[in-house]
Symmetry: C2
Subunit: 481 residues, 2 copies
Amino acid sequence: MKKYCYGICFLISVAINILFSIHLYVGDGPNQEISCRSSLTWSEKAAAEAEAVAAISCSGHGRAFLDGSISDGQPVCECYGCYSGTDCSELSPGCAADANSGDPIYLEPFWMQNAADTAVVISGWHRMSYEYADDPMMSPELDKYIRKLHSVAGNAITQDRYIVFGRAPAMVFGVGSSQLLSAAVYALSSQNSSSPSNVLASTPFYHLYKDQTRLFNSKNFVYRGDTNSWQTNNTDVIEFVTSPTNPGGELKKSVTGGKTIHDHAYFWPQFTPIPGPSDHDLMIFSLSKLTGHAGTRFGYVVYAVLASSFFQLSSVRWAIIKDKDVYDKVLNYIYLANAGISKDTQLRVLKVLKVAMKADGKPFFEFAYNQMSDRWNRLTSVFSKSTRFSIQRRHPLHCNFFHQTRQPSPAYAWVRCERQEDNDCAAVLKAGKIIGQSGSTFSAKDRYARLSLIKSQDDFELLMQRLTELVSLENHNIEMI
Amino acid sequence: MKKYCYGICFLISVAINILFSIHLYVGDGPNQEISCRSSLTWSEKAAAEAEAVAAISCSGHGRAFLDGSISDGQPVCECYGCYSGTDCSELSPGCAADANSGDPIYLEPFWMQNAADTAVVISGWHRMSYEYADDPMMSPELDKYIRKLHSVAGNAITQDRYIVFGRAPAMVFGVGSSQLLSAAVYALSSQNSSSPSNVLASTPFYHLYKDQTRLFNSKNFVYRGDTNSWQTNNTDVIEFVTSPTNPGGELKKSVTGGKTIHDHAYFWPQFTPIPGPSDHDLMIFSLSKLTGHAGTRFGYVVYAVLASSFFQLSSVRWAIIKDKDVYDKVLNYIYLANAGISKDTQLRVLKVLKVAMKADGKPFFEFAYNQMSDRWNRLTSVFSKSTRFSIQRRHPLHCNFFHQTRQPSPAYAWVRCERQEDNDCAAVLKAGKIIGQSGSTFSAKDRYARLSLIKSQDDFELLMQRLTELVSLENHNIEMI
């Protein structure tokens, strides 16, 4: 018996050894496996800090951030609108739905689901220089990925053209697209101060076009208002063509025949069917509305001048650029204004875009489209019950990205108050506890108001609730104001 | 025997079990211990990537970065000037010393020595919003640390004043100090376009003052040149006061008595003795020259208006701000130009400043000062042997930070070619294989040239070598050109 006992004990002990060995070299789950196989040193502390902050519970109604205010030694929850308390669990009962800003938080869940692939570690000595090795201001790797992204999304022609000295000069990065609007006006404007260029936009339009153009009180360009009211023969025109429009979401073309700045901030498959690649002289895109990283402040100009000829010499492609002067001016503007944009930002954008482009962009754009499409389905259902309020009509188009005919799902609802007396639509909505932007903010009538549909799910749910209440009151013939 | 064998085998097996257990729960070394004690999940991959890139050997003459060009699946080394090869080990024998740019790489070793404390992990969902919880554009935590930093360095008064509604409104962050130069001119300028404000600077000065002011061709302000040539009675003057000067390194005061923009980019203990805190109306500081993170593009305005009265009410301090209009204009400029600066950048700056401020800033500023001071000792030793070239005189002052009387150790040598015929000093240096910036770049005479002393150690060593050669030739009565 004793001999058998030794034998059995030995076998059990060996079995335990084998289990320990498996545990040690394979791990007992995905997390354990990763952490024990790695041999991190200097980055471990920062990683642990970031994970600790991410693990702080804000009840799904807020976030804690590494650079948040500190209480009891750790960052506090920053609650979404209408929520409060240390863990953001308290909903303020009578709180107004805030649909004012274009804060694109609707994509936050996607980045949380892809946490491992989108985290980025920046060392203390990461790119301290003003310059990259191959470019004074812009990351060549990021430039490359942006071009690939447009190939994938099919929304702009950025590949295989305008290549000089083995480097593609046709893109300029800026601090958000906002900075590039102003750089573009500068670059396209007359250098003759006695006869400034005339800056125009089509109502309703983003107020920054007007505000920026006026800010510098330049002798070279002057803001002139709406394209429709521009009746003179003066052809020195710089026209903002916002396509899709903000608000509205419609695809647009130039109406003046002058020089154009195509603002394509919303020209992505989640907001609009992509009928084909845009190929205009000067196009501006933004990270903010593409991936939702508004806080990262990144935009870029694609300056797509027509190369009058080009040829290939070994691996270096050459192009003769016409009108390179405009491109140089945009570049010079960014150089003089701020010597380029943060290298940290460019690294983060690279990381984010790599994930957005996985599997030819399908998981990312489908997630984003489904979010917007679901919101529009719920929104149209509410407005269909109203005669007091209407929203913009949407026109289905074939989308080259999804290979389907689809409805647009714009970032904003453009609400019209239909009753004669409701000539301040934002005020009517406000009385119904909904905060939107007045039509006049977009140089339109105050009979209109803009409601943002791209904020967090909490914000959207509350907006739906308040809209439903408002429309339900209307149907019970109770006046709000 | 068989029985003993079972017994011994069993004991050995149990011993192995015990060893495995110890290994599993304690680890077999510092790295293993850290990684197996931690339970990192989503951040581990990014951390491992960053460490792998940091471990790429570039022979100490270059760096690999996460966003560098990829070859064979990993980022390639980006070599410092004059070095080449896949691991940057090949020195080009006749290479010129490049002392042209103000790239502040001299502090890179400090950040490498403090790798664990300065790494930062940015999650995919970090601050996607345009706004912080308590501020539309600026991190309140960062604001707080910058104020502390000035208390520690003793170079500007930023604490305990100008507090409105519990929030300190007197700081505005910009995309590098460069953007703020232009924001400040805008904010201080006349709104009367028939009589623009006159922008002046004292020669030699940083060319951006002139280039930026001219860029917008504004009706509100116009660049007028040097303060010395400004003889009219027109008092609508905006004067750039660069203190310490670039180049030169001298502390300066306003000479016109007009409105002032104090550019304090170099007003830190490593470059100049700090005689006391600066307390001017509008002061501009920059991260670039403070910590060496030029690529991060971060600067700030301290708008130190005098509060005409203030009182304290519970924990909220109030102040009545006079001339708040200027502050609002700077803020509005940054908002309209680019809706604030990248949140990723602000997070990184916070992390870096926290390390710089450890132990009241002593380790950081001593490291930085020692670097600059050593370089100046070697530089003056070379120039003391020359009659052909001279550099600026430096005047010792008491430094309130180091509590000692010290020589300034400016970021740049301002070289004067003494020989009558050497009226293009940059060309003379260039013939001696030294690349500097011509005096005329700073609106001075070309008899002067600027040499940067804040680049990498490699760059400085080569500069020393070339200067030594040049001076040695002079002493052997051999003409260079």
